[in-house]
């Protein structure tokens, strides 16, 4: 089933008609229909990583979300202070499902909300003095904490607090790493700058500060896996099974030590390139560590990635890799055999963060499903350059799509499944459109690796084919003529 380029162009134009002139002009630049040319030349015209238009209901978050929520928050043996007013830490408390082993509140501080709870006096007189006290109190309350990070909320940068000076002073006093992170929510245009700022803080304050007792030829790092629902564990197990030694896991179920020793690896394996590319590039420059992207969503991509990883090592690893694939393939085939007939040709619309909108395509395709539109909240140009070649001609590619646009497209394309976030989820339930949250795996997971694909396939089937959708007496939907598919 092909997708019609011209029809989809028209469809997007129709959707954008609703905007006032200025916003329409802007939003037009954030859509592109995939063509043979776009697939091959890799220089798409699509605009990305620029400001969202006010008032349009962007799905994006902020720098704080990118730093505390994504990069730093999962480091389990450090205490991350949500520095500023109460809300940011409250809403990001335990909602991302970055699993970590350990005893919560004792040697694992992930699903906690530790905050300076700014009051008016802190805004007027500054929060630096309070921050010092907070750090001392943290070492009293959490004697096993290995370090502290300061995750700045908006007011911190606006009132001129010097969290760097406080962190430096207190790091000396308390004899532990204290990392100031300038991830105020108003910086940048999305979570993405927060990732970058968080990466820079790892580079400047943590990386290279510890040594590994013994290094080996097979030492690798997992970079950019946040262990959502246990993803990093389901990935690590494959790398270890083929004989590699994972010395650091960034940052899902990660520790301060793993941030400090990662520079000893022989190869960096990066899953979420968007949120941690800055670090692998830095390690390449500073420590000569090569890096490669990999994709553990769906068996096809997983086999491909495993082989590509193995190719970086000797024959032993390559043989192990082939044996491992041979061991898992029959089970993967069984999964596909069972679920593909139930999911074949189902149309999917995706709108996720900065990676999964392309990385999960293979998993859907393994199940015979078609991605008809895919978009990112906060991707950059390089992400789109990788996306176009992965998609069929005629696919709608979108950047920072608004709630309105997604709803219109989902209906006009008559999709069978939408994969996006919790803000979007319940809208589609009203519409009777099957929906999976693809940030949190809808409270399921893992979805990475072979173990993950089994759950992924089961979840997609459960969602698309649930009898509950039949209970909705759908009103006649006015299908626009020739809606592209």
């Amino acid at each position: 089933m092909g997708l019609n380029i011209e029809e989809n162009k028209k469809l997007v134009e129709e959707v954008l008609e609703a905007y006032p002139k200025k916003a329409k002009k802007d939003r037009e630049k954030h859509f592109q229909i995939n063509t043979e040319e776009a697939q091959s030349c890799g220089t798409c015209a699509l605009k990305s990583n620029i400001k969202s238009r006010p008032g349009v209901m962007t799905p994006r978050g902020c720098s704080y979300a990118g730093s505390k929520g994504v990069v730093w928050g999962p480091i389990k043996d450090m205490v991350h202070i949500s520095h500023g007013p109460i809300g940011c830490g409250q809403y990001s408390w335990g909602t991302r499902r970055n699993y970590a082993n350990g005893t919560l509140g004792i040697d694992n501080f992930t699903a906690m909300q530790i905050t300076s709870d700014f009051q008016e006096t802190d805004i007027v007189f500054g929060g630096d003095k309070k921050l010092e006290v907070i750090m001392r109190e943290i070492t009293e309350m959490f004697p096993l904490a290995r370090g502290i990070s300061v995750q700045s909320e908006c007011p911190v940068g606006l009132i001129g607090d010097d969290i760097e000076a406080v962190s430096k002073k207190m790091s000396k006093e308390l004899e532990m790493p204290i990392v100031p992170v300038r991830c105020e929510g108003f910086r940048g245009v999305s979570q993405s700058l927060g990732h970058h700022i968080a990466n820079d803080a790892i580079r400047d304050f943590v990386l290279g500060k510890a040594e590994l007792a013994e290094t080996g030829p097979y030492d690798v790092n997992i970079i950019g896996d946040y262990n959502i629902g246990g993803d990093a564990w389901a990935s690590r197990i494959l790398l270890e099974e083929m004989g590699l030694r994972v010395i650091a896991q960034w940052s899902g179920d990660g520790t301060l030590n793993e941030l400090e020793i990662a520079h000893k690896a022989k190869l960096n394996l990066i899953h979420c390139h968007r949120s941690m590319n800055y670090m692998v590039e830095h390690m390449e420059k500073a420590y000569d560590i090569p890096w490669m992207e990999y994709n553990f969503f769906g068996p096809t991509k997983t086999y491909e990635s495993l082989r590509a990883i193995a190719a970086r090592f000797d024959e032993t690893i390559q043989e192990n890799c082939e044996k491992m694939i041979a061991r898992h393939q029959p089970e993967m085939d069984k999964i596909i055999h069972k679920f593909k007939p139930r999911l074949e040709n189902k149309k999917v619309l995706l709108m996720i963060g900065g990676l999964r909108s392309r990385h999960t395509i293979g998993a859907y395709e393994d199940l015979g499903m078609d991605i008809v539109a895919s978009g990112y909240e906060f991707a950059h140009k390089d992400d789109y350059e990788k996306t176009f070649p992965m998609m069929k001609e005629g696919t709608i590619i979108m950047d920072d799509p608004t709630a309105y646009e997604l709803e219109e497209l989902a209906q006009k394309l008559n999709v069978d499944l939408v994969g996006s976030g919790v803000k979007e989820k319940y809208v589609y339930h009203k519409m009777g459109v099957p929906f999976r949250q693809m940030h949190s795996w809808d409270y399921s997971g893992p979805y990475h690796g072979f173990d993950g694909f089994k759950i992924f396939a089961k979840d997609m089937d459960m969602t698309v084919n649930s009898p509950v959708w039949n209970l909705i007496s759908k009103k006649e939907k006015a299908q626009k003529e020739g809606a592209g598919v």
């Binding site: 006010p54 905050t115 055999h337």
Partner: protein
């Protein structure tokens, strides 16, 4: 479905497999972990009286607080009005957090927009963002009113909402007639309940003033016998249905001011419509002519109550969440007094049935020591309920409890309520404390049941006590907010929740011989 048996373990059974157990052990060599002994000692220490003392000595760090920020409440308040789009002026991430957080509780969409201010707006102010935001949001989402609140960023830089909205009108982005209500909601002041109040007052005063109506209580021909009712920051959509049932039994006309039950309990019809239900905008100025107003969250709705009794010059009865038999009795008395109508027989009969249920269950409740966490008004209701059934509140934590009503502090009213009953003698109130304090309390002075939001689950687990989920937010259970906890019906729901948890615990902790069939 294919008959072929496939083994697809979920994350519980998957990660319990031996290969993952080994993986965990193996990863430790790179973690530089604390020794098992260190961890065990630190865990034991964290449960000690010594630790508790240090914990209560904290002056600055806040750990697992039980409150959120102002604009969250404002978004909820805005969604209580017909075709009203909440508009959050400031950084866009805040708005995404509010939408996610409310949707995680209600399992419903939360339409709301942001003015997406970034660094340049931090320097030059957010006027252009606000004006563009009004133009775009109205074009796309076609609201009949926009309700603006602020994030701390806009508050710190001192954006002037009133003049910005005025300029939007001058620029022709919105017409002179298009209603834009607004309020200032700095997140470094108060909590989510403050923000609810600010927005509700903002909307009522704005729609009233622009209507040109002059309030004359009890004068309206159509609205003359109407009663205004406000539920406040109400996490239970079921409570709206319950209050409607009660008022309809009284056969009085009424207006609910701020009714988000439509938006947060809308049907799946195959179409999404953005706006469901809500207080009609035209009813707001008419509400100024009602006989009186009833507030069911007197600590939350302080500014709104002052506005109604001041500007509208209306008699107002303000109480805390009417939980339990006594709480509901007070509610019915208040409605009766404000409307001059007698308490309907159907409600008296319902009362009898629920009291009957309480008598059936009292042996399992009596003397149960409980810990309570929640917003101030909910806590007054919960304390009242506990006392009337013989449950003993022991630890009561209210992170956002530094509030007062008619110059009486919440703490003093709660203490007086506890003092009024022998079952309240064990209780201590902790105002401004957090759930890490609560953890120490639960571990050092054990109780039988914890009652509070999902956020209490961590402390409850550490102390090994069952958690009865009541309040906001409930993120890890489904549909509890659809069942009322107010009124006689709500009392029955609460009773059933609590007694069956107690009975589940008896079964779970049985000693073999007493795994009883009849309880």
């Amino acid at each position: 479905m294919s008959k072929e048996k496939l083994d697809i373990p979920d994350y519980n059974s998957l990660f319990a497999e031996e290969r993952y157990v080994q993986q965990r052990a193996n990863k430790k060599q790179f973690e530089a972990p604390c020794s098992e002994q260190n961890t065990a000692e630190a865990l034991a220490y964290s449960k000690s009286a010594e630790y508790m003392e240090k914990n209560f000595d904290r002056k600055a760090v806040v750990i697992n607080p039980h409150k959120a920020c102002q604009p969250l409440g404002s978004v909820m308040a805005a969604l209580g009005f017909e075709k009203t789009l909440p508009f959050v002026h400031g950084s866009q991430g805040c708005n995404s957090y509010f939408r996610s957080h409310l949707s995680r509780h209600f399992k419903e969409p939360t339409p709301a927009v942001s003015s997406s201010m970034t660094e340049d707006a931090a320097v030059f102010g957010g006027m252009n963002n606000l004006i563009d935001g009004l133009e775009n949001s109205i074009a796309l989402y076609k609201p009949e009113m926009v309700a603006l609140c602020t994030t701390c960023m806009a508050e710190v830089i001192g954006d002037d909402l009133s003049s910005f909205i005025g300029n939007a009108r001058i620029k022709g982005v919105i017409t002179e007639e298009f209603p834009v209500a607004f309020c200032n909601t700095p997140s470094f002041v108060g909590s989510h309940i403050t923000g609810y109040d600010s927005m509700l007052k903002g909307i009522l005063s704005y729609l009233y003033e622009r209507s040109g109506i002059k309030a004359s209580p009890g004068s309206g021909t159509e609205s003359g016998e109407k009663l205004n009712v406000m539920l406040g920051f109400e996490p239970y959509t079921g409570n709206f249905a319950e209050i409607r049932k009660i008022l309809e039994a009284f056969d009085t006309q009424y207006t609910i001011l701020g009714d988000h039950s439509g938006n947060y309990d809308s049907p799946a019809t195959g179409e999404y419509e953005y706006y469901y239900g809500g207080t009609k905008l035209v009813d707001v100025p008419l509400a100024a002519n009602a006989l009186g107003s009833l507030s069911l969250q007197k600590y939350t709705l302080k500014k709104t109550q002052d506005f109604i009794s001041g500007t509208w010059n209306q008699p107002i009865t303000a109480m805390s969440t009417p939980l339990g038999i006594t709480g509901t009795d007070k509610l019915l008395e208040a409605v009766s007094e404000l409307t001059g109508l007698p308490v309907p027989a159907s409600l008296t009969e319902e009362r009898g049935r629920v009291v009957d249920a309480l008598t059936d269950s009292h042996p399992y409740l009596h003397g149960k020591r409980v810990a309570l966490v929640g917003d101030p008004d909910l806590l007054i209701g919960l304390i009242g309920f506990c006392l009337e059934v013989g449950m003993e509140p022991v630890h009561i934590v209210c992170s956002n409890g530094d509030v007062d009503f008619n110059d009486v502090k919440f703490k003093d009213e709660a203490q007086a309520l506890l003092d009024s009953s022998p079952y309240g003698s064990e209780a201590t109130l902790y105002i401004g404390n957090d759930l890490w304090h609560m953890r120490s309390l639960l571990l050092n002075d054990p109780i039988d049941l914890a009652i509070g939001s999902s956020h209490l689950k961590f402390a409850a687990k550490d102390a090994g006590v069952p958690l009865i989920r009541v309040g906001f937010p409930i993120l890890d259970r489904h549909h509890m907010h659809r069942y009322p906890i107010i009124g006689y019906q709500g009392t029955l729901n609460l009773l059933s929740l609590i007694v069956n948890t107690v009975l589940d615990e008896l079964d779970r902790n049985h000693s073999g011989f007493n795994y009883d069939l009849v309880r």
